[in-house]
Symmetry: C2
Subunit: 321 residues, 2 copies
Amino acid sequence: MDLADISRPVREDLAAVEEGLKSVGKVSSPGLSELLGYTLKGGGKRARPILALLCGRLCGAPGERVVPMAVAAELTHLATLVHDDTIDKSPVRWSRPTPNTLWGEEQAVLLGDYLFARAGELTASTDNLRVIKLLPETLMIITGGEIAQSRSAFQLDQTRAQYLQRVSSKTAALFTLATASGAILAGAREEWVQALSAYGHNFGIAFQIVDDILDFIGTEEEMGKPVGSDLAHGTLTLPAMLLMEQYPQDNPVTKLFRERGGAEYVRQAVELVRGSSIIDQCFDVAAEYRDQACLGLQGLPDNEYRQSLYDLADFIITRRK
Amino acid sequence: MDLADISRPVREDLAAVEEGLKSVGKVSSPGLSELLGYTLKGGGKRARPILALLCGRLCGAPGERVVPMAVAAELTHLATLVHDDTIDKSPVRWSRPTPNTLWGEEQAVLLGDYLFARAGELTASTDNLRVIKLLPETLMIITGGEIAQSRSAFQLDQTRAQYLQRVSSKTAALFTLATASGAILAGAREEWVQALSAYGHNFGIAFQIVDDILDFIGTEEEMGKPVGSDLAHGTLTLPAMLLMEQYPQDNPVTKLFRERGGAEYVRQAVELVRGSSIIDQCFDVAAEYRDQACLGLQGLPDNEYRQSLYDLADFIITRRK
């Protein structure tokens, strides 16, 4: 099953989200219009809008009620990517140059700020105070998590709990916003809102663990960015942690972090992880979170939207990009 | 009259704003807490909170109702400064190192994002949908204006209308947010909201023109940053425009912009402007906007808060930092 199959029950709403994203790019300033047009046409999977729409529909909302918030969730995601690529000086994403490469850091930082603002504007347009409050709270969690990650770069003494905390902040928080806001805008009963929030949280952790796995086992063509990027930036992810546990005396990750860089160490670490059982172990951890996400859906209405949430949780575990 | 005299009618509310800013820095993450503590203790004049408080009180709001929004306006201002200093690679502001100098660009970008988010959270806490919608709209104007400024760096063919448009976006919009939100939160009649919005707009333009003048005539000690910074960054401001008009054949600004840099040209331009009538002409333009701002206050209640708005408009014209 691919993403188009899974999102079929909300395909019309999703088309409206694409239209919404396109209209974000329609601004009078030619410079800004160019930046937005490029950024909004990237290669994203639109996972956050799909989740918001599925959760909204699952709880009985008419699709159009959730569309602006689904657009806002995607814009928030894009804004964080634009800033991440800028501060990481990443040259490539989705197999094409990043905004910071094409227009420089200055305009990339401002572009990210604009996208955050536009996300806020769309969220405010829902007139729903609970959803409106969720967005900045989520952004505080995300940026707080990213600051923690930045401060922990090339630090060897990190626990698995700290890793999960980081993943929870930098990735799961936005998925939680997407699922929770869908349910809230549908006027769902509190029990359902909580269940879908928990789904988004566990889904997000599984999603990020798979992302961290793909950074080791994916190809540059599939991912649209270099293999081993996390390690190269000094970000300790689950596969690298397990590698250090398996070879406590001598391993390329420890060397890389002590010397704060070294492409050869990155290559060695990637090779060592690929040839070990570490990837299977990481998939097992991701699958636990997938299971946890799905378990929480049991009390919700048994409809095609819920089925898509199950399928989506399976999909993100098996995806290769 | 100094700023303490002018803001005396709202001194208690202003103390609450300072408390509010302090509590923004109280977060569990030690890294983030350090970044926030430093940023919130800068040398700002708190002009935006003062305006929000005066406008709120003028329209009859109890002070505490406007305090969160006054804090939000200041945080938004600080967020834009942190990002501006980062993308300009400015080493110093308020006579001390900038966050990008102390902690690097990565953490400075994230710090700015966090401050934007916190501003959004505080604004949402007002539960006032009109004010909630004003914040992201204002941020879109500000960042849109900054992108335009960034794209026009070192461009010689700029009109005075374009300059005013830039000033209006990058500075006046946030002052308008401050004054309008004070009035809106007070539940003021629409006429007063419009009058105070217009005051904020004209005040903001006068404020920025004076800022642009001080970049030529101030001292590094007074301003806490180097003289001629705007020119060095390729930003064409009113004094530089008038210099080009006065010496159309040959002037250091044209040379600086054609060669995209040159500290000696900056020095020459500053000297030439200081020795001419250009500064007086610029002050005349700023004074027109000050007058325009004050004119709009006539229909408002004649109380101590309105008097402070008059005094504040005079103050920003005569300030030296």
